[in-house]
Each structure stands twice: as structure tokens, then as C-alpha cells.
């Protein structure tokens, strides 16, 4: 179903569109079955515009983009029409397609680390991209590379050009990828989830760059994303896809203020919201220090005192300090969130809590057991009080065991229940995580991502643990699924009363869920306190930057946040 475009398009209708997709249908034939990935998709993209293709996994958004480049696998059947400035791309000669790819259409992929070849320098790879399309001399290409790297806001272009991919950070690599994509002055830039693998503060910079490049080079950008915040930040028009069909097509302002299709509404509704940002004025009186522990209260379930975790460095080098002097406690029945960007040490703390990593110094006490000093037997007993939910349920469940066997694992390790009793308990647990008991004998690969994560949660709560560690439990899931998993976690916590350490990079999720939050930056806790205070009026500049960088699904509010983020990064680069 295609919704006809409205007024904002009429003014541009006189100009012919740069990219016109009409009646595009893509199907895949696998083992004799036909799977329709895209049905009858039509949209137009004009120069200087950003069009966002939005949808959850399996909605056909990436397939649509790959069809534009003619890069679908041989099993795909494509019909309809895709024209780039009047040239038909479907069924075009391979020679023409090669000219278009990298020449007239530049592409950025999700994972910059894997999109670049690890054995060549960045400079060589960009120069190769240039020389593939233009007959320029080596020296001229090298000069152009430096200019391009400067254009995308990299500080020291000549150093970056000499570097190999593993020597640069994710943000730097994505900027290098962008410079490669724009090296031949493309008229269209396809960005397939360009910031999904990056931290929010880096993401804000990349989105800023995309917006800036579009204006400067007068390109069109086809942005593929699942993140409504990113859409609100950069898109002019939005196409919402579900199961290969376009359900809504509108300008960004219209879509966010008055979504017409029900699916769009549920999608927007499922996005967790951040509170209004109030940045503390310099010189604001500091709130009082947290009270010393009241001796009459029961002791905290988790107590970390001056914990340091170091990883051995490479070859006699200095050890890498992943966690630096962290103090933290979790009271009974409390949900404490640990937020930070990648490399901040949040997962390391989670693993040290479970006794999966040795601490270098400091003490970790969980449920009265000092984890570092526990004997094997004590450690085993202590682990019966602990449940862990990992980020990717696809890899945290053994692919060769049935769901029932996976959930029963803690039961058979720590209890003497008979097989019948175990089966009854597993059914109870399946019910507790709202899964039908007929899934008992399925294997993980026969289930959806959300169902798998429910299974992992069922396993974690099988022994009514005192502490549940949830390490990014929803970041591999679609946003509507995420909302339901978070609801489930909250309900279970109320019911069972476990304490919970919730590790996340997503501040909005933390806001919804946690009582208290600790913000980690380079292994140190820079700010800690009740969620309401920390996320509404952050005291530490890093927390403020983190909050301002997180995009919200509302274009007008996002514009304000963007401004705030710019101010903050200018103030403390």
C-alpha cells in the first residue's frame, strides 16, 4: 500500500527526482520456496534530500537498497523499476552498474571494521576507489585522499591515510568509509545503518557530518535505519516498511507529529523516551553526598569496593585497566543500571561480579560471598544465587540443546529434582516468561530473537536468584520486542524480588527501568545516583554529553538536543 505524497512534495514535483523507485518487488527462492522480500515499493528521492527507509528486521529495507546497487544474490528475482537520474538500473549492463557503484552512488555500511580490508592502509583503499573510476595518477590520487579525509572531519589526514583499519577507532573508520563513498562525487549516498555499531557520542558526530555533506555536496542520501531517533535527527522524508510493504510515507515532521498508520504509531510508541534535558548551570550547588549506609538496613546484595580489573597487555606491554577503582552497591530488590559507551568497562564489571574474571585488586561481595576468595564449592553455591542474561540470545543458548534442556540446566546442576519435577518447573518458567509450553522441545534456531531472549531469562530465574545480571539484554532486538522484554523483566523483578544489575548503553531504556544509575567512563564511575536526578540534571560533563548525544524520536526536540550537544562538545572536546 502506498500513501500518496502530500504538499511538501508538490513544490519539488516540477524537478524530476534523482532516484525513482516504482513498483519494486524482490523475491528470493530458497529450497524451492519463494519468499517475497519486497512488494510493490515506490518512492522518490530528490537532490539534497535525506530519505529514511525505516523498519524492523526482516522488513526489506536493506534489500531495497541493495537492489538499487544491483548487489542482490543470484537467487533474487527483481521486478519493477529503479531509475537514477533517468537511467534504468534494473537489468542494466554489468558495465553500467560498475560505473554507477562507487561512481554515481556511494555506499556506507553498518560495520566499518569489516567493510574495510584489514591488510591495506586507509589511504591505499581510498586511492583505489578513486582510480577505479577516474584515470588519475598515483600522486594526484594521494593528494585527493588527504583532501577527502580532511573533508570528513578527521584531524590528522596524513596519519589516518597511513594507518591500517585496526589502528583507528570505529568513529574514525566510519568517517574514512564516508570519505571513500564520496570520493567520486556521487549524486546519491546510500547509508545502511551507518551508526548502529557506534557509540551515541560518535553517532552524533557522524550524523552531523552526513547532514553537512548533503548540504555542501548537494547529494541525496538514502538512509536505512531502525532507529527512530536517527530518523528524527537527519531525515526529510520517511518511508516506513513492514514485511516488505510500505505502510506509510511522509515528511519527517508529519510522520512524528501525526503518524497515520497504526504500525507507525506502535513503532513510535515502543521507542523508550528520555526526559527533557536540563543541563546544570555552572556553579549549581552540588546535591548532598549519598548518605552512609544505615546499619539497621539489611546488608546490600552486591558490594564492590575499590575494584580494579586489568587485562594483560600485549607482549610485556602495560596491562590495560578496564575497570579502575569502582565502588558500587546494590540493595536487596533494587535495580541498578550501569551505563557507558563501548570500552567503558561495564561488561567487565558484570563478569567480575559473576566470578568469570579475576579482579586485580579490591573486593567483590555478592550475597555474603567474597567472589575473589571463594573456594570452588563456595563459588558453585554462590552461582546458584545468580542469573545472567546476555546480549545476544542466539549465542547464549546452546544451539544443539532444546529449549527445555537449556532452561533445566541450572535445575540439574543445583537441585535434586526428578526429571518429571524438572519438566514441571520448566513449564512453570515458560509460563512466567509468557511463552507457550509447546516450545519445550524446540531448538533455539526455530524461534524468534525475542522468544530466545525470553528463554534466556527463564533460565536465569530458574533458581529464584538473589541477583540477576542483565548485560545489554535488548540491544540485539527490534524496538517493539525490546519494549516487551523490558516489561517482562520489570514484572519478574516485582514478583521474585531479585536485585538486578542492568548493563546498557541506552539511556532511555535505563530511565524506564532502573532505580539507580552509575555512569562509567573509561573504567571509572563518573556519576552515580537515582535515575531521576542523574538523567534529568546531570552533574558530570560526560553524563551531560552522553545524554545530549542520544537522539530522540521527535524532530523539534531533537534539533534542540543537537544544539545542546554541539555546545557541550565545543566546551569540552
Amino acid at each position: 500500500m502506498t500513501v500518496s505524497s502530500t504538499e511538501p512534495h508538490l513544490t519539488k514535483a516540477t524537478r524530476s527526482p534523482l532516484l525513482a523507485v516504482a513498483g519494486l518487488a524482490v523475491s528470493f527462492e530458497v529450497d524451492g520456496e519463494t519468499h517475497q522480500a519486497v512488494h510493490d515499493a515506490s518512492f522518490e528521492l530528490h537532490r539534497g534530500q535525506v530519505l529514511a527507509l525505516v523498519g524492523e528486521s526482516g522488513s526489506g529495507k536493506s534489500v531495497t537498497a541493495m537492489a538499487t546497487l544491483g548487489l542482490l544474490p543470484a537467487t533474487a528475482r527483481v521486478s519493477g523499476s529503479i531509475t537514477l537520474a533517468g537511467t534504468e538500473l534494473i537489468g542494466a549492463e554489468p558495465r553500467l552498474l560498475r560505473e554507477v557503484r562507487g561512481g554515481r552512488i556511494g555506499t556506507i555500511f553498518q560495520e566499518p571494521m569489516t567493510a574495510l580490508n584489514p591488510v591495506f592502509t586507509i589511504g591505499d583503499q581510498i586511492a583505489e576507489a578513486i582510480r577505479a573510476h577516474r584515470p588519475v595518477r598515483r600522486a594526484a590520487a594521494a593528494a585527493q585522499v588527504l583532501e577527502l579525509l580532511g573533508t570528513v572531519g578527521l584531524d590528522d589526514p596524513s596519519r589516518v591515510a597511513r594507518s591500517y583499519p585496526h589502528e583507528l577507532s570505529g568513529g574514525q573508520l566510519q568517517r574514512a568509509m564516508i570519505s571513500m563513498a564520496i570520493s567520486c562525487d556521487p549524486v546519491l549516498l546510500i547509508a545502511d545503518e551507518p551508526t548502529t555499531a557506534l557509540d551515541v557520542t560518535v553517532q552524533a558526530g557522524i550524523l552531523d557530518l552526513l547532514r553537512d555533506l548533503r548540504k555542501r555536496l548537494d547529494m541525496a542520501v538514502l538512509l536505512i535505519t531502525h532507529d527512530m531517533g536517527v530518523v528524527a535527527d537527519v531525515a526529510d522524508t520517511v518511508v516506513v516498511l513492514r514485511d516488505g510493504q510500505i505502510v506509510e510515507q511522509a515528511t519527517a515532521a508529519q510522520l512524528f507529529s501525526a503518524p497515520r498508520h497504526e504500525y507507525t504509531r506502535t513503532l513510535l510508541h515502543a521507542v523508550p523516551r528520555l526526559p527533557e534535558l536540563r543541563l546544570a548551570e555552572p556553579g549549581t550547588p552540588q546535591p548532598p553526598e549519598p548518605q552512609p549506609l544505615d546499619p539497621t538496613l539489611p546488608p546490600p546484595v552486591v558490594q564492590l569496593r575499590n575494584v580494579v580489573v586489568e587485562y594483560p597487555g600485549r607482549r610485556r606491554g602495560h596491562p590495560v585497566r578496564a575497570v579502575d577503582d569502582v565502588c558500587l552497591h546494590i540493595d536487596q530488590g533494587e535495580m541498578v543500571a550501569l551505563v557507558g559507551e563501548s570500552g567503558s568497562g561495564k561488561s567487565t564489571i558484570g563478569r567480575a561480579l559473576a566470578g568469570l574474571l579475576p579482579t586485580t585488586s579490591g573486593t567483590v561481595t555478592v550475597a555474603g560471598v567474597e567472589v575473589g576468595r571463594a573456594t570452588r564449592r563456595e563459588l558453585r553455591n554462590f552461582r546458584s544465587q545468580l542469573g545472567i542474561v546476555f546480549q545476544d540470545p542466539a549465542s547464549s543458548l546452546n544451539p544443539r540443546r532444546t529449549v527445555g534442556a537449556s532452561i533445566a540446566e541450572p535445575l540439574s546442576l543445583h537441585t535434586d529434582l526428578s526429571p518429571d519435577a524438572q519438566r514441571r518447573r520448566v513449564d512453570e518458567l515458560l509460563e512466567a516468561v509468557e511463552l507457550p509450553s509447546r516450545l519445550h522441545d524446540r531448538h533455539p534456531h526455530e524461534m524468534s530473537g525475542g522468544q530466545r531472549q525470553r528463554v534466556a531469562i527463564a533460565r536465569a530465574i530458574a533458581l529464584n536468584p538473589a541477583l540477576l545480571i542483565a548485560d545489554e539484554p535488548t540491544s540485539a532486538l527490534d524496538v517493539s520486542v525490546q519494549a516487551r522484554i523490558l516489561d517482562l523483566l520489570l514484572a519478574l523483578q516485582r514478583q521474585i524480588g531479585f536485585s538486578c544489575l542492568f548493563i546498557s548503553h541506552d539511556l532511555a531504556v535505563v530511565e524506564q527501568l532502573a532505580d539507580r544509575v552509575a555512569v562509567l567512563h573509561r573504567g571509572r564511575v563518573v556519576e552515580e545516583g537515582p535515575v531521576q536526578t542523574v538523567l534529568r540534571a546531570p552533574r558530570h560533563p560526560y553524563t551531560a554529553r552522553l545524554l545530549a548525544a542520544a537522539p530522540v524520536a521527535d524532530p523539534t526536540r531533537q534539533a534542540l538536543r543537537r544544539e545542546a550537544w554541539r555546545q557541550l562538545t565545543l566546551a569540552s572536546p
Binding site: 530458497v30 529450497d31 520456496e33 519468499h35 524492523e56 526482516g58 537467487t75 513492514r242 514485511d243 497504526e262 504500525y263 504509531r265 506502535t266 515502543a270 559473576a354 566470578g355 568469570l356 563459588l379 558453585r380 553455591n381 554462590f382 552461582r383 546458584s384 545468580l386 545472567i388 546476555f390 546480549q391 545476544d392 549465542s395 547464549s396 543458548l397 546452546n398 544451539p399 544443539r400 540443546r401 540446566e409 541450572p410 546442576l413 543445583h414 509468557e434 511463552l435 507457550p436 531448538h443 534456531h445 526455530e446 524468534s448 530473537g449 525475542g450 522468544q451 525470553r454 534466556a456 533460565r459 527490534d478 517493539s480 520486542v481 519494549a483 516487551r484
Partner: protein
């Protein structure tokens, strides 16, 4: 009850994921669709039947592999008649010098070859999997020692060792048993290497970490978490190892250090046939063809199994 399909309006059902439905049934379907694998499986089944019912088959021909028939030979010891003495009585002809029935020898030789091949494979797989799995899982000094031993054994000139060994072991020790032992001792290091590297990769996977965090001990992790994920590797490796072992046994028998005469063995027959190849080429052809077909059948089956276990090769064939 709720499932995790998107919230509001009911979405059309997602198509079932291809190539990953029910494990074993899927495996059979994929194997059955591969013509070469089916042919290999047929060949393997044929040789197994022949080996198991060798006396029955040779009785069908009316001879056993031990009785001499000097009437079938000329004075110089060469078989009388066409193609090494092929006749209604001797279907594959006879052995020069002795006149033993070649059909009975080839049929009984299958027994020796498959017994030694399967036995040596089973023993080397067992040692290799246990050592590789524990070395990869526990690491530390144990792993370092194991890796060194594997390196030494893989670099060892085993043929010279076996020939030397054949000369010094007491004759009371049954030769087939010795062969199995020697082939197993030199066969396990390769298996251990593959299993160890797979284990190293597997133990980093989150489900193993998750199981550790649940309080699982070493035995549980090895047997319940790691081993089931290694079955595909082990099965495929074993089917490819059997023909290599059969070949190795034949090579040793060819060199005269395998099973002793008069026990029928393809390798020794081939070795003896070399001297007769000018006058009686069929003496070389029959045992040679049997050896070739048996190893080919096992290799085809192994290849087919490997492809069937690996979902990524689905679209490549057919």
C-alpha cells in the same frame, strides 16, 4: 500467551527459515539430494556387506581363500587360460604360484581392510577427541605439552618406525591388532589438532560462558555443552579418515609389514602382483580396483556428509 511478533496489526506469518528445520531429517534430505553422496553411501554399504558375509560370498564361488589349486597353474606358476585364469570356477582368476581363488581373496581382503581401517579410525578418533577437547578446554601447561607431542608425532617418520617395529615385536602379538595400534598412535594427532582448535573457538561462545556462570563444572561443560557442538566435525572427520586408514593398511601390507600371509589383504596382493604385471595383469587389477572403489566410496560419503552438515554450501550444488 504472547509471542514477539510486532505489536499491533497481525503481521503475515514469516516464511519458515530455510535449511534449518529439524536437524537429522534435514540432514538426510540434503544427503539424499546429493547424487555422489548417495553413490558413496551405496558403495560403503556394499563393501560392509561383503566384508561381513565374506565366507558366504566365497562359498558362492565354491572356494575358500586358503586352499591351493595347482591344476589351475602352468609349470612356470602362471595361471592357465585367459585373464589370469578367469573361468566359471574362478571368477576373478587365480593367484599365481599358489592357484588360490582370487575372488575369495578379494572378498576376504575386504574384511581385513575394513576391520583395520575402522578399528584404527575409531581408536585414533577416540584418543584425538579426548586429548583435543581437554587440551583446548583446560589450556595451560597440559595444552602446551599436548601441542608439542602432536607436533612431534606429526613430524615423525612413521613408515621407518613401523617397518622397524614389525621386525622387533614378538610374533605372538596378532598383526592386525598391532596395525590398528600403530595407525591409531600416528592417526590421533591430526584429529586432536582439529578438535582442539574447534574447542578453543567454542569455549569463547556465550552459551559456554553462560553455563559457567550457572555454576557448571568442567565435566558438564565438556560433555553437555562442547561435545554436542563437535559431533558434525567428528562424524565428517571419521568418514574421511577411514579410507586414509584403509590406504595406510594397504601400503603397509604392500611393504610386507602388514598382516602376514596367508591372511588375505588387498595391499599384499597388490604388492605381489607387481612382479606379475607383465604376464598376469588381472592379478593387479582386481584387488587394486577393490581398494580404489572402497576408498572412493568412503571419501564420497565423507564429502557429502560435510556438505550436508554445512548449511552454507546449500546453494552451491545442484
Amino acid at each position: 500467551m504472547s509471542t514477539d511478533t510486532p505489536l499491533a496489526p497481525p503481521a503475515p506469518a514469516r516464511p519458515p527459515r530455510p535449511a534449518r528445520r529439524r536437524g537429522v531429517r534435514q540432514l538426510w534430505q540434503r544427503l539424499a539430494a546429493d547424487r555422489w553422496a548417495v553413490a558413496g553411501a551405496g558403495g560403503v554399504a556394499f563393501f560392509l556387506v561383503v566384508a561381513a558375509a565374506a565366507p558366504l560370498f566365497s562359498a558362492l564361488g565354491g572356494h575358500d581363500p586358503y586352499s591351493y589349486d595347482l591344476d589351475a597353474l602352468t609349470d612356470s606358476g602362471a595361471p592357465k587360460g585367459f585373464g589370469g585364469g578367469i573361468s566359471g570356477a574362478h571368477w576373478f582368476g587365480v593367484e599365481p604360484m599358489t592357484g588360490r581363488d582370487l575372488f575369495a581373496i578379494v572378498v576376504h581382503g575386504a574384511r581385513t581392510s575394513i576391520l583395520v581401517g575402522a578399528g584404527a579410525t575409531a581408536a585414533s578418533m577416540l584418543i584425538g577427541v579426548v586429548v583435543g577437547l581437554t587440551a583446548g578446554f583446560y589450556g595451560g601447561w597440559y595444552d602446551r605439552v599436548v601441542t608439542r607431542v602432536v607436533d612431534v608425532l606429526l613430524g615423525f617418520p612413521y613408515l621407518i618406525f613401523v617397518i622397524g617395529l614389525g621386525a622387533i615385536v614378538p610374533t605372538s602379538l596378532p598383526k592386525p591388532l598391532l596395525l590398528v595400534g600403530v595407525l591409531a598412535v600416528f592417526g590421533w594427532p591430526g584429529v586432536a589438532r582439529v578438535v582442539r582448535s574447534q574447542t578453543l573457538a567454542l569455549k569463547q561462545r556465550t552459551f559456554v560462558v553462560a553455563s559457567t556462570a550457572l555454576g557448571a563444572g568442567g565435566w558438564h561443560l565438556l560433555v553437555r555443552q562442547l561435545l554436542p557442538n563437535l559431533t558434525a566435525t567428528i562424524i565428517v572427520y571419521a568418514t574421511i579418515k577411514i579410507p586414509a586408514m584403509i590406504g595406510a593398511e594397504a601400503a603397509l601390507s604392500f611393504l610386507g609389514v602388514g598382516v602376514p600371509p596367508p591372511t588375505p589383504a588387498w595391499g599384499r596382493s597388490i604388492g605381489e602382483a607387481i612382479a606379475w604385471v607383465q604376464t598376469d595383469p588381472m592379478f593387479l587389477v582386481f584387488p587394486g580396483a577393490a581398494l580404489f572403489l572402497a576408498t572412493l566410496a568412503f571419501n564420497l560419503l565423507g564429502d557429502g556428509l560435510r556438505d550436508a552438515f554445512d548449511p552454507k554450501t546449500a546453494g552451491l550444488r545442484r
